[in-house]
Amino acid sequence: MRYRRYLILAVLLGLLISACSKQGHRLADEALSKGDYEKAAEYYTEELKKTQADVHLRNNLGITYMRLARYDDAFRELQKAIAIDPNYAKAHYNLGLVYYHKGLLGKEVEEYKKAIAIDPEYKIARMNLASAYLAKGEKALAEKEYNWVIEKEPENKKALYNLGLIYSETKRRDEAILMFERYIKLEPKGKLSDKAREYLRKLKTKDKK
């Protein structure tokens, strides 16, 4: 009987701690989504004192530091998140972003690739990998990634527009025309629609010639 009382007490205490922790988590996440990064960093750091090996907390603290342009701190947190769970794709993706901000293109590509290897459906990682490939001047590899995205998400405007450009630059007019037409159909009045129309017009004129 006496033991049962202790057991109930322990369970209650556990629930209380868990509730407090969830509260801290929630506050931190809210601050992060509101863009109050200083506060978010404070909450996450506080939370991590209680549970050091929480991969989500580490990852989110990494994002928070990145938003505060504290890239070295972000790097450390994300490395720890990866140490806790090497298969946590988001941490690899965010680490890729940190490398992007630090101007380390090679490392950036490596991390996006790791994220995609873990989660092949990771679209943003694929989009960023394609962008990084373009920054390296590797159009064929970028094209492969954009095509993958379009197959899964046929209305991805960014991928359509960029593929249009890649096809146009690599002299594949029909494909380029198709991509720009699809883009304009989806976004007739977007900020790049006029440019897309211009490319389309040029491509069609060349065709006639």
């Binding site: 990145m66 962008s131 450009l165």
Partner: protein, 308 residues
């Protein structure tokens, strides 16, 4: 069956923990030595680069000193020549001959220093390339070691290694920048007009002509190097402009706008291209002027040879 028994014996052996401990210790020591080895290699390469840099600076200072001497000597020769035109004097003639001899020797010295400078610059570039490779490997090693320590709950030690990795990453990025950036150095191309007395011997004229011809080749080679740099810059410009056309390439992180960075980069490249194009014209002009002077000297030498 026997093997199983042996294994069982090993596991049950009272020294088994000792064996495990010793193996782990040896493994850790080996990895530590390996890490140290790589870091030591990096330190050695850095030291070599530092030494080469110091050597390069010493050569440049020496070259500058000789160029200053050359300027003084050239004006001295000019005034001696003027004096000789007004009225000959054997002393002045001897002085002029001596001054010309010294000038030729200075030109030879500059040539030699130019060669040494070029060789050192090549060595430095090679060493920097090697350093870059070693650093890339070391960065990965440091990150892996940091992760290993973090997994062992040694957060502070892990942080220290991550810090080292970050510092090395920054250093590596700077190094890569140095290796790929196109520094446009404005070189002093003042053409040495070897003052003529009209009394030069056939051999002296040939020697002077050959010196100038060597300079022509050197300047032409440098002009070609500049052209290559210009082409690379134009390629980089194309790539940057292309990046700006695509969506999301300049701004891979939606939360941060970085487009202006690319515009700045483009502006920098444009500035360098303008400077390089001007430099190439200057080099070409210098080379053609020197070639003309060299030919004139050679023709005079031929005439003198025929008279003899």
């Amino acid at each position: 069956m026997k093997r199983k028994k042996r294994m069982f014996n090993l596991l049950g052996h009272k020294r088994f923990p000792l064996v495990i401990f010793t193996s782990a210790f040896l493994f850790l020591m080996a990895s530590h030595i390996y890490a140290l080895h790589e870091l030591e290699k990096i330190a050695v390469i850095k030291k070599e680069i530092k030494e080469y840099d110091a050597g390069l600076k010493a050569i440049q200072i020496k070259k500058q000193e000789i160029i200053s001497k050359q300027d003084v000597l050239t004006s001295e020769i000019k005034s001696l020549k003027e004096a000789l035109k007004k009225g000959g004097s054997i002393i002045k003639e001897v002085q002029l001959k001596e001054a010309l001899k010294n000038l030729r020797s200075l030109i030879m010295d500059i040539d030699r220093l130019d060669d040494e400078e070029e060789a050192l610059e090549k060595k430095i570039k090679g060493k920097k390339g090697l350093l870059s490779e070693k650093m890339a490997l070391e960065i990965d090693e440091l990150i892996n070691a940091g992760t290993g320590l973090y997994k062992q709950n040694k957060e502070k030690e892990a942080d220290a290694l991550y810090k080292k990795a970050l510092a090395m990453m920054d250093e590596h990025r700077r190094l890569l920048g140095e290796l790929t950036q196109f520094e446009v150095k404005k070189r002093n191309l003042s053409i040495i007009e070897i003052p003529r007395t009209g009394f030069e011997s056939h051999a002296e004229l040939i020697e002077m002509s050959l010196i100038l011809n060597r300079d022509v080749k050197k300047i032409e080679k440098e002009a070609n190097d500049l052209k290559e740099t210009l082409n690379s810059l134009k390629k980089e410009k194309g790539l940057t402009q292309n990046m700006m056309r695509f969506q999301g390439v300049a701004e891979r992180d939606d939360a941060v706008r970085k487009g202006n960075g690319l515009l700045k980069r483009l502006k920098d490249i444009d500035g360098k291209i303008i400077l390089l194009e001007k430099e190439i014209v200057r080099y070409k002009e210098a080379a053609s002027k020197l070639r003309r002077l060299s030919r004139e000297l050679m023709e005079d030498a031929k005439k003198k040879g025929m008279k003899r």
